[in-house]
Amino acid sequence: MKMVAASKLRRAQTAAESARPFAERMERMLGTLAGSLAGQSGAPRMLAGTGKDDVQLIVMVTADRGLCGGFNSSIVRNVKQLAGQLLKEGKTVKILPVGRKGREQIRRDFGPHLIEGFEGLGRKGISFAEADQVATRITQLFDENEFDVCTVVYNRFQSAIAQVVTRQQLIPFPVPAEGPVKADAAAKALYEFEPSEEDILNSLLPRNLAVQIFRSILESQASEQGARMTAMDNATRNAGDMINGLTIKYNRSRQAQITKELIEIISGAEAL
């Protein structure tokens, strides 16, 4: 199983890495656009938010399958902590689980907060269309005023043995205030927009949502395989140790049995 996970990991990792250029370029484009619109009253709701943060939606990305160490539990623990904290602040929390394991684990404590989620996505490597389904659903919920702020919690792939639980706010989209986008400020003024900035943003923001979801699922899948590989490696090693221990025990008791039988025969012969 370790070998299987290792080969799957390689594939998932390649997928996650090849998805990065799109997300990066989209971010750059969005940064340019958002920067030129920031602070204006006409900004779309996905960017500006609803003006409140009363209802919080948490998208929880976990695996569909277990046997991958602390992979699912660490996400669930993080979501529980976040949800608990938000509830304490008097906010309403909704949890949208992506992946079967996460839903099962969180149902006991936060059952009433769960809304219908997704399962079995990308069994053979996720496609963008599948991620788009998730995004469409989130957009739909947002349009129906079901929540104000959306955060995704997923495992970001760092290396085969390290996954980082990451929280990322999706709605309202956080405008990157500093960094490389700022450097483009001079060029920003020169950009022409066709059609208008608002129109582009209105179609770009939902796309961006889909891309961010896509990326988080890809990262999560790569992490899952990494976690499983480590877990299975540990399991194999542990099983090896146990086999060694048990073999010694077996031999000892076998010898004890033989010795006992010999003693019985000898003492029987002596009695005659």
Binding site: A15, S18, A19, P21, F22, A23, R25, M26, R28, M29, T32, L33, S127, F128, A131, Q140, D143, A187, L190, Y191, E192, F193, E194, P195, D199, I200, S203, L204, R207, A210, V211, F214
Partner: protein, 135 residues
């Protein structure tokens, strides 16, 4: 020959093309436009259609895209496409199945949102049909 422009075509799954070319013709929402080097910076949405890549005095590549976004500046043009495939690979089955599915979706659509989504699918399928190579 003038300077070349760097053409990048990116789909969510991967970076499809990244190479310097002479000119790229992109189907923008408000009309097709050609991007050469030293183009004024602009950002536009892309409608379903065909991107013509001109290089070495001829059309070197024709790619069908199902909509997306394009960012142009002096050195490069970046097209973010959700779906992209070479025109030569489009088959009759591919677009007729899509046309069919889109028409059914349109007929079933009850809400405005669903209708808009179905119309979008239909326009993608129609653009695909128009782009398909003639037999």
């Amino acid at each position: 020959m003038a300077d070349k422009i760097k053409f990048e075509l990116v789909s969510p799954a991967k970076l499809l093309i990244s190479s310097p070319v002479d000119m790229v013709i992109v189907p923008g929402t408000e009309g097709d436009f050609g991007a050469l080097a030293q183009h004024a910076p602009m950002i536009t949405t892309v409608r379903p259609g065909v991107i013509d890549v001109h290089d070495g005095g001829k059309v070197s590549n024709r790619i069908f895209v199902a909509g997306g976004f394009a960012e142009v500046n002096e050195e490069r043009i970046t097209v973010l496409a959700e779906e992209a495939l070479p025109v030569a690979d489009i088959t009759h089955d591919m677009y007729s199945a899509r046309l069919q599915a889109a028409k059914e979706a349109l007929a079933d659509a009850k809400t405005d949102g669903a209708r808009i989504a179905a119309e979008q699918l239909l326009s993608i399928a129609q653009a695909m049909q128009a782009a398909a190579p003639r037999h």
